[in-house]
């Protein structure tokens, strides 16, 4: 909302990957509004705490989605509350690697097991940006950061293996410079019936600039570890997904998709059909002596 708000004074650093992610999300939300003809207010963006989470204040459309800028690591359960209260709304989580995969890690598994019908956009820069450059769960072993002056003593977490073994039903992988494909993934993720994660490599130009590493740099003779997932790849095959997840490099594309599972709100609906909805007066009567 900041395009029209002088009071909001946070800015991303020049070149921050999150700029690209914002453009992609703005596009996906706009598209959804025009396609569903539901107003922008039917979209809720739940943000984690971090440079990335500040996105919720920076969407520059005139029509604004609702936003929730909560506390560090809790965007998923907040999103669950919103979604289960109002299954008709489109709920999107925006969070960083530290917020989502570190302090908030505990919340991914349960939502995957429930197949909560929300979309999570994870901006992975392999570092804690907002607190100025400490290591995060996706920082490589041995890397020196302000909090690991002699190298990180902990192995890097593999997000895709995690998502898969937890049963996340839609998993896409991309990088911040790929605005158009990323935006398409976000749209597909919002459409997807169930828990969808769009995991974005979103470099931190200030503390962990991985642009060259990702895209390569011929001048510097850096190959680049990002690669397109081949067209003949079967995104519904868990085996294949586990292989991609275990292989080196950063895949670009949809890693896994399972559209056959019921969503959490659908399951709860099924249950409420079984459950007798008795008026309070009847409940009181049941305690008559």
């Amino acid at each position: 909302m900041t395009s029209k708000n002088p009071e909001y004074d946070f800015k991303w650093c020049p070149g921050c990957g999150d700029f690209g992610v914002r453009r992609a999300l703005e596009g996906a939300l706009q598209l959804r509004v025009s396609e569903t003809e539901a107003p922008m207010e039917n979209n809720v963006v739940v943000a984690g705490i971090g440079c990335s989470g500040n996105m919720v204040h920076m969407l520059e459309s005139d029509e604004q989605p609702y936003g929730f800028h909560g506390i560090h690591g809790r965007s998923l359960p907040i999103a669950m509350g919103v979604k289960m209260a109002r299954p008709d709304l489109n709920v999107v989580v925006v969070a960083g690697d530290g917020d989502f995969l570190g302090i908030g890690f505990e919340h991914i598994g349960p939502q995957a097991a429930r197949n909560l019908n929300v979309t999570a956009v994870v901006m992975d820069n392999g570092v804690y940006g907002l607190t100025k450059g400490q290591s995060s769960p996706t920082t490589e072993l041995g890397v020196v950061t302000s909090s690991t002056p002699f190298g990180k003593a902990e192995e890097k977490l593999n997000p895709f293996q995690m998502y898969l073994s937890m049963g996340v039903s839609y998993i896409a992988s991309t990088m911040s410079s790929q605005v158009r494909p990323m935006s398409a993934m976000m749209s597909e993720a919002m459409e997807h019936p169930g828990f969808a994660i769009v995991h974005v490599q979103s470099p931190c130009t200030e503390y962990n600039n991985t642009y060259d590493l990702l895209r390569g740099n011929s001048r510097k003779g850096i190959p680049g570890i990002a690669y397109d997932i081949p067209d003949d790849y079967d995104e519904t095959d868990p085996e294949a997904a586990f292989q991609i997840a275990s292989a080196p490099g950063v895949p670009l594309g949809v890693v896994y998709k399972d559209t056959d599972r019921l969503t959490f709100d659908q399951r709860i609906d099924e249950i409420s059909e079984k459950a007798p909805a008795r008026p309070v007066s009847q409940l009181l009567d049941s305690f008559t002596i």
Binding site: M1, T2, N5, E7, Y8, D9, F10, M40, E41, N42, V44, V46, N54, V56, H57, E63, Q64, P65, Y66, G67, F68, H69, G70, I71, R74, P77, I78, A79, M80, G81, V82, K83, M84, A85, R86, D88, L89, E106, H107, P110, I268, S272, A275, P276, A277, R278, V280, S281, L283, L284, F287, T288, I289
Partner: protein
């Protein structure tokens, strides 16, 4: 003169029929218009273990579970040894002669519970044997229990009749055994039926039904004693379109998910006990900061840490009021009776909607497990408050004003960012001093909307007053009545609205020389809070994990008030 009050404790191994006997006896007598109350304690182990339930039956409203026992029903040796000393001098002990053997001691008599039951052809009728015997001891008319049996077992099953007969027979056998024993406790006066509809319910059930009566939409909870029964009961009963009830993975998920639900326009609640409440600290701060309506029911147990999961205590007041970092002070409603549990829930949900923020219900193990007959609430008389929602067009700034303002709901107009960081009118993060001043003032000013609570006050001219809170109300009221009857000049104050206190109450209390606060904690948390408010308050504390006994309070209050009177002479 006839007895107006009868206290019996049933004690034995879990599973031996202790609880069913106690509650059956209570229900039978409640059905004919007696006032009843049961109080149970359970062991931490799951199966078996020593259990006891105390049933009190009276011709007037029951304030507490009773200090001394008229009768102890001991199902086994351990139960006999553990509880025999709590029987009054004129009391009687009935023991299961299959488990205990005793020399006649002029106070006890045995009968073979199970053998007698089997002789009726219904091995499960032991509890009726016991009830029959009890009925004789205080001369309760047999028909009362027989009708109870008939009602309970008329379930339209082929063998109903047979079961009813065997149970009637069991009642008769028990009665006969008691008669043989030669013991008698005189006659319990006839009930004085209140002439209004009543229900027999426990504190957590009352709280849950109350919440539903106030329009509860969403409940997310994580199991923890003594709050688990809220979750379990609502899982079966909070049903229908737009309702959502679920078991979370942790209390952090409970609180943050109802923050989301409250933001999305629902009346949302969670229930927990101390350890879970501590885990909600950060989430509660978020709800306060972002101004999200929700209710947290903390069913207190012994603390700190994992503490005493199956014992009662009133020691979460400070953390309920100041749950986390920064300037935050939560509204608190603490019911003192089973009936108040029902209304506390309604007030709490109303308050949450009215001031657009989190409200804490402080209940207690003692209330959650207590069964009591209470006037059946008249739903037509209940005032349910809805949320003041924003209905205008976009461009509205929810937080712009210095006091409460309509709340936009996702899906409707007025989109904004609910924000746990300090924010401006539209909810964007800002660090401007004037905004922090405005928003802090706004958040605290909303508490003034909650000072409409009622409070009890008696003999207000007295310079020394008694003011309990929560579940200590019953024993304290008993003690206050007794002392007043003895001519002591003591004031009485009570409210379930602990924060903010009802209009006028603080001023009244400030005028006292001394306000005596009976409470079940070590630090004297409520009296400390009253002193903060400029009231000269002192606590009477107890940390046994059990409720106060009326007689102990009579003594403690006498001492405190006495001391004070002496001191105040020179002045």
């Amino acid at each position: 003169m006839k007895k107006t009050d009868f206290v019996v404790r049933f004690a034995g191994e879990g599973g031996a029929g202790v609880v069913t006997s106690a509650e059956g006896f209570a229900q039978a007598n409640a059905q004919v218009g007696y006032y009843v109350q049961t109080f149970s304690t359970f062991p931490s182990q799951i199966r078996g273990g020593p259990v006891w339930t105390q049933t009190r039956i009276a011709t007037e409203e029951v304030l507490s579970s009773g200090d001394e026992l008229d009768v102890l029903v001991a199902f086994d040796e351990y139960a006999y040894e553990t509880h025999k000393d709590e029987v009054s001098d004129s009391g009687v002990i009935i023991f299961n002669s299959e488990e205990v053997d005793l020399e006649p001691d002029g106070k006890s008599f045995g009968m073979p519970f199970d053998e007698l039951a089997r002789s009726t052809g219904n091995a499960r009728a032991a509890n009726m044997i016991v009830m029959g015997a009890l009925a004789y001891l205080v001369n309760i008319r047999q028909v009362i229990l027989e009708d109870f049996v008939t009602n309970r077992f008329t379930r339209g099953r082929p063998n109903d009749q047979q079961i009813i007969e065997s149970n009637h027979q069991a009642l008769a056998l028990g009665r006969a055994e008691a008669e043989k024993s030669g013991f008698s406790l005189g006659e319990l006066a006839d009930p004085i039926p209140p002439g209004i509809d009543q229900i027999l319910i426990n504190g957590n059930q009352a709280l849950a039904v109350g919440a539903m009566a106030a329009g509860l939409d969403v409940y997310v909870g994580y199991p923890i004693s003594p709050a688990t029964s809220l979750l379990v009961w609502l899982e079966s009963n909070l049903a229908g379109p737009g309702k959502f009830v679920y078991q979370a993975t942790s209390e952090i998920e409970s609180i943050t998910s109802i923050v989301g639900a409250g933001f999305a326009g629902k009346k949302a609640m969670t229930g927990t006990a101390g350890p879970g409440f501590s885990l909600m600290s950060e989430g509660l701060g978020l709800a306060w900061m972002a101004e999200i309506p929700l209710v947290v029911a903390d069913i207190q147990r012994g603390g700190p840490s994992t503490g005493l999961p199956t014992k009662t205590e009133q020691s979460d007041l400070m953390t309920a009021m100041y749950p986390g970092h920064g300037d935050v002070q939560l509204p608190i409603i603490a019911p003192g009776t089973v009936e108040e549990c029902f209304y506390a829930a309604i007030h709490a949900l109303n308050w949450a909607e009215r001031y657009q923020g989190p409200v804490v219900i402080l209940s207690e193990h003692m209330l959650s497990e207590r069964n009591q007959n209470i006037p059946k609430p008249d739903l037509s008389k209940i005032n349910v408050e809805g949320r003041k929602t924003y209905q205008g067009t976009n461009g509205y700034h929810r937080y712009e004003s210095w006091e409460i303002s309509p709340m936009p709901i996702p899906g409707g107009p007025g989109s904004y960012v609910a924000n746990g960081s300090e924010h401006d009118g539209m909810g964007d993060t800002t660090h401007r001093p004037e905004r922090h001043i405005q928003m802090t003032t706004r958040r605290f000013s909303k508490l003034d909307l909650l000072k409409d609570g009622s409070y009890e006050s008696e003999n207000t001219s007295a310079s020394v007053a008694v003011m309990p809170w929560g579940g200590s109300k019953g024993p304290a009221l008993g003690a206050w009545r007794e002392l007043t009857a003895q001519g002591a000049d003591l004031g009485w104050y009570y409210t379930m609205f602990l924060n903010p206190l009802p209009n006028g109450m603080v001023e009244e209390l400030r005028s006292k020389d001394l306000v005596i606060v009976p409470e079940l904690n070590f630090m004297g948390q409520m009296s400390a809070h009253l002193r903060m408010l400029g009231i000269n308050a002192e606590s009477i504390t107890q940390i046994t994990g059990l409720p106060f006994k009326t007689k102990d309070l009579v003594q403690a209050i006498t001492e405190k008030a006495g001391i004070q009177q002496k001191e105040s002479v020179p002045a």
